[in-house]
Symmetry: none
Subunit: 223 residues, 4 copies
Amino acid sequence: MAVNPTRRRGRRPQRGRKRPNSPRPRTARQSERREAILAAALEEFSARGFAATRLDDVAHRAGVAKGTIYLYFHDKENLFQELIRSQLSPVVGSLQAALGTDRSLREVAEQAAEVFLREIYGTRRKDVIRLVISEGPRFPQLAEFYYREVIARIIAALRPMLQRAVERGELRAGAVIRFPQLLGAPGIIAIVWNALFGKIDPLDARAFVSAHLDLVFGERKAP
Amino acid sequence: MAVNPTRRRGRRPQRGRKRPNSPRPRTARQSERREAILAAALEEFSARGFAATRLDDVAHRAGVAKGTIYLYFHDKENLFQELIRSQLSPVVGSLQAALGTDRSLREVAEQAAEVFLREIYGTRRKDVIRLVISEGPRFPQLAEFYYREVIARIIAALRPMLQRAVERGELRAGAVIRFPQLLGAPGIIAIVWNALFGKIDPLDARAFVSAHLDLVFGERKAP
Amino acid sequence: MAVNPTRRRGRRPQRGRKRPNSPRPRTARQSERREAILAAALEEFSARGFAATRLDDVAHRAGVAKGTIYLYFHDKENLFQELIRSQLSPVVGSLQAALGTDRSLREVAEQAAEVFLREIYGTRRKDVIRLVISEGPRFPQLAEFYYREVIARIIAALRPMLQRAVERGELRAGAVIRFPQLLGAPGIIAIVWNALFGKIDPLDARAFVSAHLDLVFGERKAP
Amino acid sequence: MAVNPTRRRGRRPQRGRKRPNSPRPRTARQSERREAILAAALEEFSARGFAATRLDDVAHRAGVAKGTIYLYFHDKENLFQELIRSQLSPVVGSLQAALGTDRSLREVAEQAAEVFLREIYGTRRKDVIRLVISEGPRFPQLAEFYYREVIARIIAALRPMLQRAVERGELRAGAVIRFPQLLGAPGIIAIVWNALFGKIDPLDARAFVSAHLDLVFGERKAP
DNA sequence: TATGAATGAGGATTCATTCAT
DNA sequence: GATGAATGAATCCTCATTCAT
């Protein structure tokens, strides 16, 4: 009956830990190691989830000793949170840039979709988003961080743009204005769908996102 | 050495436990216990995820001894899977029923949204869906089950209806036809959003779903 | 690396238990059940040893419920001991009979060997002897019982016979007189050898025992 | 609920433990620990058998933590097998040496008996042999190992020697030639007898083995 | 710094024994 | 009497964390 050999014990999650480890290691070598550990952690956490990931495996994959992880991160939880933080913040800039231009709404939306497909969906970052979705409820701090650093910023960048679009008559002052989340929905769905059903019934993320834009803005005339 | 010569095992001799003196037949009590365990498992798994959940806690919450779980489920994994199965299968019927009626597409969609809000979003079943999303990638069989028993059936029920809608001119033969997933997207997003950010920035699922319908079908004339 | 799936927990052995259960159940049906349980226990204990045997399996094999075992035996240990007792006592009589005759020593020895081969080596009783060897050190009571009821009796029956043989000039007053154990040695060795190496390098017990008699008495002239 | 927020794991912060400040290189200490664990395992396994032995007890007796055992051995079974292997392999050499000399058969046999008495019967190795006898049937690999590494080698060393003895007229080409096992029989019997009945009726192993040699080769002229 | 051996609390699972039916 | 569901102590094994080297 065993479905999968992932039976692992876990430590109970979450408490108000407050000692953020030093944000910037001194030497280049150190910073390299930190990166190696984070990269390894990304692989392992996204393959198994927080509780089932063994620091042993992370260390092995990063090519360092287990104890070394503790020189860079306070504990497993801190490593996990640092991982999420380090991966998500950079994208926000790109998205903000894409949303900041002054072209037509449709063009901007396509631009943003492109950024999403290239920088998130096409990379390991999609796994980070899955991790946030999976583990967030047990890591309120993390969810909050994600909300503040990613979601809120994107929505903040979105609002004036949508406002302008309404003023220009490119958009009715309706659903999307009230719930800008609707714009990002298909991206998230594509990530989740393919993580679950990618093997059985893969979803073409680009086409899916594109179809959604058609839905919001009406079909494009000619590509 | 310490060979304790009086190590005892077995049922403890009745210490003010709930009088099991009930006249109910054995099978009724058994199925009640099974349900109690599943209910407890739902609480625990959705609060902590698969790996971090302790069967000890499940047992305690269900009011049974640890060993009792093993009378009803082969192991932790099996309990988890049975939980998912038992929770999701029933809903599909309701959704199929909602989708099977012959009214206008908009009406049908609103009906389905209603079922979703009432039977999934308004119940613990939303947590089950979160569990599938979180743990599915590590439990391929589970994802497959979910796909076969839930997703595929809903999509199968959806297609002819959408086809009819196109024929009737209620829908353009575009995005939604190719990707019926778009219809369910906001439901999933609402679940995920509120699990993560419900405390910080709650999302009104009903309004959200409704706004999405406006997006797909155009604003309703009069509310 | 796993050699065998016999990892099982055990209860610590042995204490001066003193409540021998009723030696003779009332009805025929009861006595039948008791026998069935003992027969099943023989199978299971000799396949797995005391600690690794599950009463569940014994019950199943005996076609009774687990609780029923406790109607006939105090506990696992008592079942085990009763099993040994019930199996060994009967043979002693046959051996004593074989040894009691007044023929030549060689003939008597061959007679006894025949009894051994037929009633012990050729039956499940050889497994009982293996059990005594394996578990005896942890069940001093059992070893003592075995010594008293089996070993001592056989030796007692042997001594006068050997004495007579010496007087008749059939045997030198040497090794065998001082250590009658030497006569039984090959029987035990055959049991142990085949239990361990029977698959790899089987030992023909009859030939082996016979060769040993040749050693003790000199080759036979003509069969 | 009870999410203990301070559950700690890992090495406890040094409470008056044996100063590990030794200058010994890591490997020496490791091999010492391995030995300590094996020694403890020998005690425990031979006192209780495989199934009833607790690794907890082994660890305690070895003066290490439970987890440490798993640094040296894959699991309980592996520990058990390594124990057998490590104990038995060395003896074979001594026995082969004793059997390889070119003296008279009787002398060689006495030499071998001496080695057995000193290196097996006089040490814990007799318990290892008991363990093989007791647990071998449930650990076929182990029985096979024992056969290959011990039994087969001894028999292989024995055959040419016996052959020579026949040629020299020291032995009739009979029982012992066909069944060299007969030579070792009393050693095994002595081990088993004393393990079972040593308290009640101890058997003088040296005299017993010696008596057996008298049986095989005829009484010695003068002691 | 970096290492990785050592620790031991934690948790899944088993199974002898009890007892309501 | 017989049953077998329920119990929970027992025990294997894991792995986050520490710290001597």
